[in-house]
Amino acid sequence: MKKTVILGALTIAGLSAGAAAAATLDDVKARGKLNCGVTTGLVGFAAPDANGEWQGFDVGVCRAVAAAVLGDPTAVEFVPTTGKTRFTALASGEIDLLARNTTWTFSRDVDLKFEFVGVNYYDGQGFMVPKSLGVTSAKELDGATVCIQTGTTTELNLADFFRVNNISYEPVPIETNAEAQPLYLEGACDVYTTDASGLAATRAAFENPSEHVILPEIISKEPLGPLVRHGDSEWGDIARWTLNALIAAEEYGVTSANIAELANGTDNPEINRLLGTEGTLGEMLGLDAEWAKRAIMAGGNYGELFEKNIGENTPIGLSRGLNAQWTEGGLLYSPPFR
């Protein structure tokens, strides 16, 4: 008798958990806020400014999804997560969407039961050395001391790279990027290696950035993207197509400046479908017709977000590189909106 009660309770708990997981969209709408996981602070990608407003490239994704779903780009509860707490926060349902420069890997996608909804930044591991060292290629780094964050994929990539090229190195283990900066400047290591975007941001903060060079070799693939839980494909679709809408908007030349005008109807049916003047794409997602229009108006299209937060006119000064549209030789390629 007692056992049945316990089993029954477990079943009900399981059912309610399943129901809650399956209707993230309804939960978000009922709550009126999107719980979006971001980093506790990464230059250019997510950090609160002097007024306490979150700014950054990953933050832009959160705001776009909130705008698409709730109609208000500010209806976001930003949940700061560290590298250690991010996956449990998502798996336990504390956050609806994780936009925290997370590398899309096989095990995270399959084993941890998450669904990456796309890639918003193609990164890769690079090297930075002082110019005075006179090194122009990573293959000349034989015998160098290398500052490297422990417990990350960068550590493994580094070992692979040096082994493949049959050269030796001496690792200097460090905990965080912030710790690496002074160590590298004091000369505790000849080389600093991490994701290329991180290197650029670190170098931008130096007193004399021109005295340091980032070597041309990129030794790993780090596709960073937002992710959601397994088991709620409808919610995953919303996140995926919001990101795609930002990317497609840049491709079709839809910007936050001209979107109001284009939303009145254009000759291009693809733009019309994207902005909801033609077809029923929003309805298929369970949203209204203007979802993509709001997402783009939240912070601009992909290119605008990039330029504003990490582009060449910011102190970080990243060039588009792999993150250009496919029409311009990059990897950004949104599936068609039809």
Binding site: T39, T85, A178
Partner: protein, 428 residues
Amino acid sequence: MSKSDIAFVRREMLPEKAPPATAAGPIKWVRDNLFPGPINTVMTLLAIYFIYQIVSGAMPWFLNGVWTTSSLAECREVLQGATGGCFSVLTERWNQLLFGFQYPSEQYWRPTLAFVLLFVAVAPVLFVALPRKLLIFTGLYPFIAFWLIWGGTLLVPLVALIGLIVGYVVFLRFETKGFATAALTGVVAVVLVWWLGGFVSAAASETLALTPVPSRDMGGFMLNMILGTVCVSLSLPFGILLALGRQSDMPIIKWICVIFIEFIRGVPLITLLFVANVVLAYFLPPGSNFDLILRVIIMITMFASAYIAEVIRGGLAALPRGQYEAADSLGLDYAQSMRLIILPQALKISIPGIVNVSVGLFKDTTLVSVISMFDLVGMIRGPILAATEWNGVYWELWGFAVVLFFVVCYGISQYSQWLERQLQRDHR
């Protein structure tokens, strides 16, 4: 016996002469303390050299400090390569360092007022000479502080307070029927009042309401102070109970206490914090959001009370057996003998240990930055160093954190030394 013709009788005292310059005043002090011998002379000169090096290195950094720019790049422009601190980060972000980046800035007066009132509330506990009536304010303080910092209607802390008072009155009413019965009925009364009061405060949520601020928005040094104050003051009573429980003759109580203490002491605090943040989220039903600060407070309090329990157990063990027997021979029951004879002495012995644990605990509150809470250290490591304007400022920020923590911890330690002198009852 020959008699001299020359008679000299001094009629007045000679005025006192100043001692030789080498035997008094600063010169003597310098000779005695700085240059008493060759070895000490060398040490003194070396020390002076090092102090000079440090001061001459640090002074330009302080004196050239830039206080008014709005980014590190501008700082460097102003300094033009000269040595100087970029203290602008403190003038621009001081509010974030103290209150976190989400606390509404027009409400800063509330935590500040709570902080000032903290001294008023703590004073009568710390200084016996103050009028005892101030203790009433101390009792009210937790409720006032909660209302000030978290906001919302005044009814919530008021109901909590009334519940406790009712519980205490019920306890007194039933005290003659035995301690356990009285305590149990008291608890039932408290829960009943809180349950009923919950409806009232929910219905009238606008009564005397301040703008509510959710726990997620707390941060900066304020968060360290909240965690430190709450956890230290909660862990003292729990620690005492655990220490007494561990010495109890009743096996179940004894073993519960022993297992609790040994388990908690055998686990690092950071692990408990991860449990609070990560694991509890799995156990709780989905959608329920159990306040993160509350979870962290519970974990830190558990951790600290286990340590304080051991410190107090040391104090209890140090008391001579005669004290226990004296209490028994007076016919006091367990509660009375503990309250009147044993604990006052045991706690006095334990003061250094308790202060030690408290100071350590206060500094340990910075560990919450690892579970993505923005305390002072979390604020520096996360948002401020990740801002494009301030990425690369280290010494100024960490120096500021050092100063804040040093002031608090040194203050606590000085007070405890003063207290020990006050309580000196030894026969020496």
